[in-house]
């Protein structure tokens, strides 16, 4: 199993860097992982808004939210999301939120 080191702690991830165990996630994980995802500087309020939204949706429904809904509910458009998370909503934002990789025909 591949591993990734963030802030002195080791985490098990899949081949593409998605956290394997959701409960190992912490805000420090997201902060430390940001640099690996091409985010410069500290995570801003808007980053956290999106991360928190994704995690809340996941807790309630067991999946990552659909992108359209995410944009609508957070008021951040897709362009803005890409500016915040250069790898995009699924490969960037969901990864920092500690979700596993989306599956199925999505």
């Amino acid at each position: 199993m591949p591993q990734v080191e963030v802030g002195g702690k080791t985490y098990e991830v899949d081949e593409d860097g998605f956290l394997q165990e959701l409960d190992k996630w912490s805000r420090d994980f997201a902060k430390g992982y940001a640099a690996l995802e091409g985010i410069e500087g500290e995570l801003t309020e808007e980053h956290w808004k999106l991360i928190d939204y994704i995690r809340n949706y996941y807790t309630q429904f067991g999946i990552a939210p659909m992108i359209r809904k995410m944009c609508k509910d957070t008021g951040l458009d897709l362009k803005k999301i890409y500016a915040l998370f250069p790898s995009g909503p699924a490969k960037g934002a969901c990864k920092l939120a500690g979700l596993s990789k989306p599956t199925g025909c999505v």
């Binding site: 659909m66 992108i67 989306p102 599956t103």
Partner: protein, 534 residues
Amino acid sequence: MNKIIHIEDFSRSGGQLAQIDPAELMPLPPPYDKMSKPPIRQLTDEQRKRMDASLDGVVAIGLTPPANPEEEKAFIDKFLAGLEKLFTIENNWTFLQPLVHTLDYCVKCQICSDACPTYLASGRQEIYRPTMRAEILRRIISKYIKKENSLVRKFKASDIDLNWQTLARLAELAYRCTLCRRCAQVCLIGCDNALISREIRKIFSQQMGIAPKELHEKGAVQQLKVGSSTGMTPAALMNIIEFIEEEIEEKTGRKIKIPVDKKGADMLLIHNAGEFLAWPENLEAFAILLDAAGVDWTLSTEIAGYDSVNYGVWYDDFQFSRVAIRQSLAAKSLGVRKISLGECGHAHKAGIVVADRVLTGDLNIPRESILPLLEEIVISGRVKLDPSRNNFPVTLHDPCNMVRLMGIVAPQRRILKKICPQFREMTPHGVENYCCGGGSGFAIMQSTNFPDWRSAVSGRMKFKQILDAFHDVPGPEVKKYLCAPCSNCKGQFRDMFEYYGVWEKSGILYGGLVELIVNAMVDLKKPFIQWEWH
């Protein structure tokens, strides 16, 4: 020139059998003739230690080498036991006859190689020939199952040395064929080398528990457990349906209640669940159109009743049967007259064609494609349409399972000819189409460097076809629409378009068929298609 590779080479340990050389790949028109990045990401040394990539440096499964000779022997024995089962009717009630036919009658004329988009686009890599897998299998059967003596094998030039390495490469090679069956279509004696790929996958899955995670663990198994391969539970489904209803109202001013679990409806419509999460405009368009046309329909919230996918059709008969039965049970419990399948190609093959082998008695509910109904709505004039609303260049992708396999060729064309003034065909098209490159589960296989391979190699022929279809309007200033009535194909186009930077360079949006119909509806004030979601 790519190097000549012999079957004996498959058994050699160490090293990578084939190299994908960017200079040998089939050329693409500008600006895609000069790509700055290497076509396929190299694996790290650490990944190579864990996962076998000795076929072509690409990983679909990534087997771990055995720790000792005992483990290797057990692995080989298991494979042979599974192989033997393929040839008994009790264990292979699905495809025994075409399997035996293909193994016994292929004369290796190689007409099929010239029909295979993966082989051609790769620059004629020997390993991707459609006949390659069958020949490996044939030799294994001759030596280890039929145990033909060495003289006979020498005479037939059919020797092979079976070790772990041979099988690890064969397992990967079974996942370098998109099962598009263009090879079978051109074969003069009806051999189906795509079926061979599928049956090899079946041995690995059913006998050895080996399959890409996205197809099995996160796919079929998850679908049967929570309801959908996307992980979408019925509660999440209802949340999304609510969102879709809101969206419809905002876009059109219409308050439409999407029918869910409506007992006794005429038709249960099953979408690929990917639409709910990634392409909700497809569901919105269906809801708007069916409402306007007065169709008596419903969605289901039963397990598998709201996800038409059946990944087993690509790799495993057991998983296939389980899902097919659940889908039929969902329809039966609602008492609908028929099941209709939305825009998803493999679900057509699985649900309408292959499921006939599984569904008996009252489970054998009529199952059909939604396309003829869409045609009837458009041609009858039941819904008023204005083609000038679709006055942009449109081309059509033919999903292999709907078109080549099932012969659903004309409905989508009669629709587009009526509502899209700038519709143009690709060359070739219809039953002679090329696969999107994401067939047989590839579009959902997102791990390591496999997505690079399907954008650079298996999807390359289709990508060139799309660019050629728009050769008169190549630049991004003219917005163009690639109509792809299949979720799996759309997933491949999304990834491939991102890989090549297609929106920025060429301005091509991909989407479904029903969106174009709704975009032409006279009664809607605003255009339905939103070009910003490219």
